[in-house]
Symmetry: D2
Subunit: 173 residues, 4 copies
């Protein structure tokens, strides 16, 4: 299992697609975007669900947390059942978010990957994407890596996603 | 857990969104579309993965089957961990596909739902959607319900998705 | 040129895709959705642009109107230059919206099509689509056909998009 | 009017969204992607329409060319009617493609922009996007700038879209 953590617009999705391309075996991918898509629309902008503020802030409530915990266990089960899985996540809780995964993972071998990006560059890419609330990248950047331990760290500021993916793939041996 | 089975363009996705809207608790949704999205692109049109023929035929290979089995176990784990889950699937193998789910589900309470649609109507909706290969609906219609046992059967030919969802929701008690 | 007018979720897009399929010649399609996509994101939710209220209301401002007028002239030019064009629009201003098109069209032959849908059915389909603000269909239904003259009227409440498209196509003969 | 020309995956769309963000006035955007979306699906992979080969090659036929010519005239009309328009295009015909625009533009003031990207980098971004046929970037790169004259040239290889957009915007002065 590979877990990528990085702020919004840091380049996680592009790296995931490149990993799926360069790794010889087939890897499934899940992440916070596919999880949010699986939620009922009424949890979007519900206090118990996930609220996207106009300034780029994201806050989540109890319903979100409960479903996310069950989802995490399910993704780990897929990996234990033999599927190779690459997850991209945004550790809004920093080290606590990593601990949540570790508890679910148990002894399952996992490669932890930091995806860094200079905040000004991420903010520029947020505008170029056009599908994210401006400010999200800048607000998440200082939070997501706090206290998190990694096996490998990549930085998309001056390095293409494909090159980052090749570096990650080479760590899988 | 709720499992909907029906051919392509029979109206499963619309029913799922309506179920998420009308059910008071939050329900997560997964299905064959989100599973295929999670696959590496190189498994699309690979013999070991999933091949969409020009005439609407769909065939899947060993890599697909192995990942699907792991995914199924993971989705069941999410439900066992407390998440309410609605799955939409296309039982290309009919009764054998249901048995695959049953083995993974064990004693987990599950509502089995047939989603029917008159094949000519489904073929017309396929054209109106514009994002499916013409012929897929017609080819899958005779296969997917063979030997499958249901708790409730709905038909979208003359009934709106919302009405179908309300009928399903009323069966949950 | 064919111009379809109907409220949100009345089924215009499905009819357009079916028209493009059943008509023997190639027809280009443009409409309010593609126009809104062409706007800068900053006009979405700007008073001068287009504001989508939480209750399904839509209001447009001066910048929107000015760009829309230029866009309308451009679409008419495409038709005059020989392209077959099918437009789907929402006449929020009823007869005044039609007059706006007529002024731009001049003597260009145009087939005017009403797309009706029972408001309760449209509201149900709005939930099934999941990508529109609930309430939009109900708010637009009483407005869009006021004082508008048509060559043909179709109703998607009990008729598939493909059948509606065939009826429209038969009027072009 | 601003016309950007560059190969697939060279970064045109990101620059367009940034231009719409940084330019104080509202600018509409059209381009080859929105034009292809407006075509009937049956022209996709029809010899008279547009054919995307498995190796990234793109070829277009007579129906495509006729509709494109009408579309070009319509876009120019929008600009003459007062709309600010930014177009992103792929000049598969090089100088001949530019001449086609020039004929339609007449004396309308136009800023011509080259969007360059190192082919290896564009090919890497093509994999990271995951929605383009691999090979398209590499095949188009040597063709699209042949004999084309520009007012400004930007290169996305080492420069963010937002920075490129700011350079372009400063030329409008």
């Amino acid at each position: 299992m590979i877990i990528l953590n990085g702020a919004s617009s840091s380049g996680k999705s592009g790296i995931v697609r490149c990993l799926q391309s360069v790794l010889p075996d087939p890897w499934l991918t899940f992440g916070c975007d596919s999880f949010v898509d699986a939620l009922p629309k009424k949890l979007w902008s519900s206090p118990g669900g996930i609220v996207f503020d106009d300034d780029g802030g994201v806050s989540v409530g109890d319903d979100f947390r409960a479903l996310e915990a069950a989802w995490t266990q399910g993704v780990v089960t897929m990996a234990r059942a033999g599927a190779r899985i690459v997850v991209d996540d945004v550790f809004l809780g920093g080290a606590a978010s990593q601990q949540r995964w570790r508890t679910a993972l148990g002894d399952l071998p996992t490669l932890w990957v930091a995806v860094h990006c200079d905040p000004a560059t991420a903010a520029a890419r947020e505008i170029a994407r056009g599908d994210r609330t401006p400010g999200m990248a800048a607000r998440q950047a200082p939070l997501v890596h706090q206290g998190v331990a990694y096996d490998i760290e990549v930085d998309t500021t001056h390095t293409e996603s494909l090159t980052c993916a090749q570096a990650i793939a080479s760590r899988l041996g």
